[in-house]
Amino acid sequence: MKFTAIFLLATCLQVSAIGHSQKVTLSMKNAPLQKVFKEINRQTGFHFFYKDALLQQAGRIDIEVKDADIEEALKQCFIHLPITFKVLENTIVLKTAVVKRTDPIIEEVPPQANINGTVKDTDGKPLASVSVSVKGTNAGTTTNSKGEFSLSGIDANATLIFSIVGYATQTVSLNGRNNINITLAVDAKQQSEIVVMGYGTLKRKDLTGSVSSVNTEEIKNTPFVSIDQALTGKAAGVQVIQGDGSPGGMAKIRIRGGTSLLGGNDPLYIIDGIPVQVQNRYLQSAAEIVSPVERFGNGDVDNTISGSFTRGLNSLGGLNINDIETIDILKDASATAIYGSRAANGVVIITTKKGKTDQKPILEANYYAGLSVPIKEKLLNAEQYVAIMKEGAKNLNDARAAANPVRPPDALATSILNTPGFLGTANTDWLDLVLRNGFSQNADISVRGGGMSSRYYTSLAYTRQNGVVVGTDFQRISGKVNMDNEITNRLRILSNMDYSFTKNNITNGMYTQALYAPPTLPAYNPDGSVHVITAADLGAQSYQGYQNPLLLLNGKNKSNTLQLLGSLALEYDLLKSLKFKSLVSVNYANYHQDNYTPSTVMISSASGTQTTPGIATQAQSQNANVFFENILTWDKQFNANNRINLVAGSSWQKSRMNSFSASGQGFPDDVYLNNLSSAALALPPSGSSGQSSLLSFYMRVNYALKEKYLFTFTGRSDISSKFPQNNRTGYFPSGGVAWRMSEEKFLKNVSWINELKLRASAGYTGTQNIADNLFYTLYNPASYGGTNALIPSQLGNEELKWETTLQKDAGIDIALFNSRLKASFGLYEKTTDGVLYTTTVASSSGFNSLISNIAKIRNRGLELDFRGDFIRNKNFQWTGALNISKNRSKVLAISNDLAVQDNGVVQFGNTSLVVGQPLGVFYGRKFLGLLKTQKEVDDYKAANLLAAYGFYPYLAIGDPYYLLDAPVFGYFKDTVIGHAEPKFFGGFTNTFNYKNFSLIALLTYSYGGDIFYEADIQNHDLGNRTNKSTRILDHYSPENPNSEFPRILLGQSPSVYTASNNVYDASFIKLKSITLNYEFSRKVLDKAKIRSASIYLSASNLFTITKYPGPDPEVSNDPYSIIGGYTDVAGYPTIKQYNVGIRVGF
């Protein structure tokens, strides 16, 4: 009999395995068994085989099962009946049970037990809120804050299931034990699936929107000093371009394209819950230096110092990467709309580390030292320079001899040809004098831990990075103090403070000057003083601003920034599922700027350039943003099919700023006594102050139906002081839906599909990153007749309103093969309407323009993200993450008046806004090639207006020619000559682990975008005798007829400012960063009594594959703008960085 029972059981199990997919749902009360069987037959097709007598004995039953296996359902049917069953194919055979009271397996009433125990994590810390359920029953409980649980009256042989988000679920069979102590291990995979959203967190599977998370493990040892650089290539749809190589300098970040013409286009950063807006803090100094590069384009030439500050000062420079726990990038409206009016450019949520309760203090220390090497221009050496000048001189005299009437040889050319050493006898490597290999080092230390009800994290970091241009550097002291306290089991007080002191020494253009200083001129005079290079030495005009770079060495361009992000929050659990949080936070920045332009330096002036007796400017600004927020979170699981997460809150933000600047002129010496008090003449000071405020209400609902259908609704209203009362309130609703197809019946059992989710969302966001008070008609102070006056400075626009962005998003998320292969595809369209821009008004109003909502810009794009867990052996693992993004912007409209006035083209320096074209359009003259035949020369000469005025007296074969608007006028025709927007871009991260080694390599790439190589314009001709890049060696000559570089003629410059032959394809693939890490083994560590230790080597920018002729195609002259910022002005060389570091944990 025993054998029969075992046999039966075995068959049952087997059958149930086969019939596993047959699910039954029954809900019947006092039903005869026949009726139950009929229903089961209807649902599953199974037939029943039994003797009638069996059922007569059985009577009626109550049954309640849902989606149960047939075996389970039958067990429930017969739970109180002496009936056993056997499933054979699709037939169920019933038999009277053989009851053997002595057999413990089939005891009628299982023994009851009272169970208790504790749940801890691998660090031995108790885990609260772990769900403990009894398998196969509805019984269950959760652990308390000490990790304890108890269950009473359950089957002594039951199986318990322990589960909590972020940890691997564990199943434990009681086997008669009544005390269970278990340890749950962190499920790394699951943990990364938690996404930090605005005002809360969500499981990634519950997302309806598009959110990219950056794995901080991948960036922690990279040689990037600031977080913006570290985001490069890490997320689809996020374009990151380093401004230049300034130490600690800023990167241009665009999430799904830019939307604002007046305001900044950086995403909103939420650092530990505090909004941080990237801004250019530079305060105008009293002296600017002319940029000889920008003189040759259409940009602002007087911006060497301000441009260097724009690229070198980084609002995010104060954040230490090692303090960061998570980075989540919110891209679509369903994710960002909760940040309403500041979210149109995307939101980056950065959360820093916290301590853990009941954890012994852990001390971690990290140190690295590094070397940065400039990626520099290749310039002519003295010998090459002289050879080129001589060739140009000879060509000039030949051309003069060939002219009709014959012109006598040019005296200067003759001297260059015949007088040895005429151009100077020195052999100066100017780049060598202004560049260096920069040494950098970083040390940081953190301690974290926690007691019964408190936890803390504190850190301190010191970073110093010497720039590759002499005199430039970046220093940072930063850290944080975090303390969370549980006052009662319902009340928690959380406090956090992130602080940083940063100091930048910014270049004043030494590198740019060094590109043009002739190598034949000495750096110093014999007496040791700096040799002055005059415009005449170069055959140039003084307004072009060339000077000896070493004169700039005594200049001072310093900034000190203190930034504090502090918050104090109170969290109270009103109900188990309802939490209230009240938060006061502050974002405070104090910025001090110190500029000194020495007396020997030529500065820009009304007449071009001039030297003055030294000008010093000191300026200071303070920004204090105070936030007060109240948030309610309701997280409720109603039943297995209905789950809701609701966040509602209000926020009040008040921002105050004030700044002042004072300048003085005339100092006793350039090195020591150049504090303001030493100035002979005080220059007019300036100052300003102001405030803005924002009152917001917001709500987000996430609803999950049957774990398959997900809905998100978000709404925010923002009331901003930046808009007139009638338009002050903006509403930003959004909605998203997602369908987890993989949870559907037809896919649930496809074992290789782990997740298949379709999602779509749409919603509105806005921007208000604009100046305050634009809607007022304003009067500014002035002076006339020696007394005060108030004069109109701005015409208000009482109709000013929000820029609103309608964003639509659709995507698919896939996880296959045990989630080892994941992919995500996304499509979006972002249309920004009412983009604020300067609008012309009739000048009979007394004004020329006002700011109004006139432009319309659209961004459309495609994002692909692949992640693979390719190899997962014991000793070797390889994972990879590849992302590809494509963004197409289009200016749909600018106001009609611009169309009337300027043919729809609005020019800004070297780029333009053109209706119907993408952002970042280069607009200028079109280079058609070099003149190759005499006929071409004659035709061009006849058609060219300037040639008619005698501008090109020697025009001949080998000279460049450009598109003319001939025959109408004969002047150069301006057209679109390039597009800065890449066709696609992205990054590819590979991580290899071999035993204790890990190697992380990041490749980034961009394809199809152009860059304007402004610094190269002067390398095409000998218009003046500045030094040139080595590319000029390849110029046109009868022996080298296929060159695109024109022939060279001393003193002649046939090139024309912004033209297409200086617009280059900036496509590239580069090894952006690579890190090799070695983790010491447990054995070694235990001996040394340390918890963890690793050493690492890392490098950035090791190689770049590109056709771009300049040093680096990845540069931006203005990281804030979407109109401009696509020009290589050679303000500061980009760098390669090599680091070696060690991490130790105790």
Binding site: Y572, L574, F580, A606, S607, F628, N630, S650, W652, K654, P684, G687, S688, S689, G690, Q691, S693, L695, I719, S720, S721, Q725, R728, D772, N773, Y776, T777, L778, Y779, N780, P781, A782, S783, Y784, G785, G786, T787, N788, A789, L790, I791, P792, S793, Q794, L795, G796, N797, E798, E799, T840, V841, A842, S843, S844, S845, G846, F847, L850, D897, Q901
Partner: protein, 474 residues
């Protein structure tokens, strides 16, 4: 507990709402909102000074009044560009290079109107004595000045029946009120004269001479009446001139050159001038440097002016050596009325003159002649003015036996005396008989050339304005 929580939330919500409202409505701190520019007597003075700032077309570095002094002299044929011909010199009014009274005058009008609005809401008690009335008077003077300047160049001022008057602005600009039609010529005169009546009656009688007084208002009224030339206008001009000459504190400068080369605003003759901004003389692109040695731009006296000054002691100090760029601009000379050759700019060389007493005498003389008065009396006024310039030979004036001849002589003296000040040489030319005008300035062939076209952009951005001046495209 729950109840307590609700109370707390409610109380917090109410109190934040209140404090929020205050902050959301906070006014800017570094500027004043237009409506609150004037809050008391002191700020009224500051607003008024702002209007003068615009009157002087000033920026923080300098006053900039070259549109007032150069284009009329170019149109009349006495001044020119140093490196070629300006369209102004050839009366090619459709494409003037250098003339833009439009933006400048309307800036002044907007500032004035905003100040008038602000001041009207204050009580008289906020001011000492009659200062409120005086300020309003000064503002009315400035408004009349701007309107008359616009009217003289963009309106058909010489035809009282024309609908093409000036676009009058009598309220501070807002986005909503920008669109507006131009008024008729008659309405334009009436509006301007009404402002001047108030200014003549109520403006202060003594102010530093870079601010307007009732005397300045009277002279301006003389100019306006002279342009209109309706019945009774000339008589009123004579009455006004008599009042000014007999009761005002101004005296003709004994030696004209002293005004321009040494005294500037300190001269007793200057009724209204422009005070240079601090350090204005150091500006690289100062007006002085554009007369000598030409920084960026250069302006020169033409042969016609030199010829007109032949035998006149003024030639010695007003006309310098030949323009070194004569290849581009033949028969032109450094103009040394303000800036002497090889000199350095000074506050005096940077001073501009809007109204001087000499003009009052010349206008009186003209009004006497035009109203059929005694030519001898008129001659006395002209000779009086000339003698203060050091002239001793009055043959031409004495020989002018007919009204036409004498008007021509008055015109010549207006040129010699007032050239490159505030456009009086040009307006005086246009008041002559059309045939004489054509003879004196042969590039004028049509009366349409008396005025210039309203800027094209005005029609684009203010379509309500109405018609363009005859002979020009919109």
């Amino acid at each position: 507990m729950k109840k307590l929580f609700i109370y707390i939330v409610f109380a917090t919500a109410v109190s934040t709402q209140q404090s929020c409202k205050k902050d959301l409505n906070a006014l800017p701190e570094s500027s004043r909102v237009a409506e609150s520019v004037i809050t008391d007597g002191k700020t009224a003075e500051i607003a008024l000074n702002g209007a003068y700032y615009n009157f002087a077309n000033a920026n923080p570095r300098k006053t900039s009044w070259q549109y007032h002094e150069l284009p009329p002299a170019c149109l009349a044929g006495y001044m020119g560009y140093a490196f070629g011909l300006l369209p102004e010199e050839e009366n090619m009014n459709a494409s003037l290079a250098f003339t833009d009274y439009w933006g400048e005058s309307y800036r002044l009008l907007n500032t004035v109107n905003n100040a008038l609005k602000g001041i009207s809401s204050l009580a008289d008690g906020d001011f000492a004595g009659d200062r409120k009335k005086e300020i309003i008077g000064e503002l009315h003077f400035l408004r009349a000045y701007a309107h008359f300047k616009l009217f003289s160049y963009y309106g058909v001022w010489f035809d009282i029946n024309s609908p093409l008057g000036v676009l009058l602005r009598d309220e501070a600009s807002t986005k909503a009120n920008i669109s507006k039609a131009r008024s008729t010529v008659k309405d334009s005169y009436d509006f301007i004269l009404a402002d001047l009546d108030d200014a003549s009656a109520n403006a202060a009688s003594a102010r530093p001479n870079y601010y307007a007084t009732k005397w300045a208002a009277m002279v301006l009224k003389m100019r306006v009446l002279m342009s209109r030339g309706a019945a009774g206008d000339h008589a009123e001009i004579i009455t006004l001139a008599n009042t000014i000459i007999q009761t005002s504190p101004y005296q003709l400068e004994p030696n004209l050159v002293d005004i321009f080369h040494s005294k500037g605003l300190a001269s007793n003759e200057v009724i209204l001038g422009l005070k240079p901004q601090a350090n204005q003389e150091q500006d690289y692109y100062s007006r002085s440097y554009q007369y000598w040695p030409f920084h960026s731009a250069g302006f020169v006296a033409k042969g016609a002016l030199k010829d007109l000054l032949t035998g006149d002691p003024r030639q010695a100090w007003m006309i310098g050596s030949a323009n070194p760029y004569s290849a581009y601009s033949p028969n032109t000379f450094f103009f040394t009325k303000y800036m002497i050759e090889n000199g350095t700019p000074t506050t005096v060389s940077e001073t501009y003159y809007a109204i001087r007493l000499s003009e009052v005498y010349l206008l009186r003389a003209e009004a006497i002649v035009r109203s059929g008065g005694s030519l001898a009396t008129a001659r006395t006024d002209v000779k009086n003015v000339m003698s203060h310039a050091g002239v001793i030979d009055f043959t031409a004036v004495d020989n002018a036996g007919t009204p036409e001849d004498l008007l021509l002589q008055i015109y010549y003296e207006t040129v010699r005396n007032l050239v490159t000040e505030d456009g009086q040489e040009w307006m005086a030319l246009l008041r002559l008989d059309f045939n004489t005008v054509k003879l004196l300035k042969p590039t004028i062939t049509k009366k349409e050339q008396y005025i210039i076209p309203i800027p094209h952009s005005e029609f684009v951005y203010n379509p309500e304005i109405g018609d363009q001046n005859p002979g020009y495209d919109k």
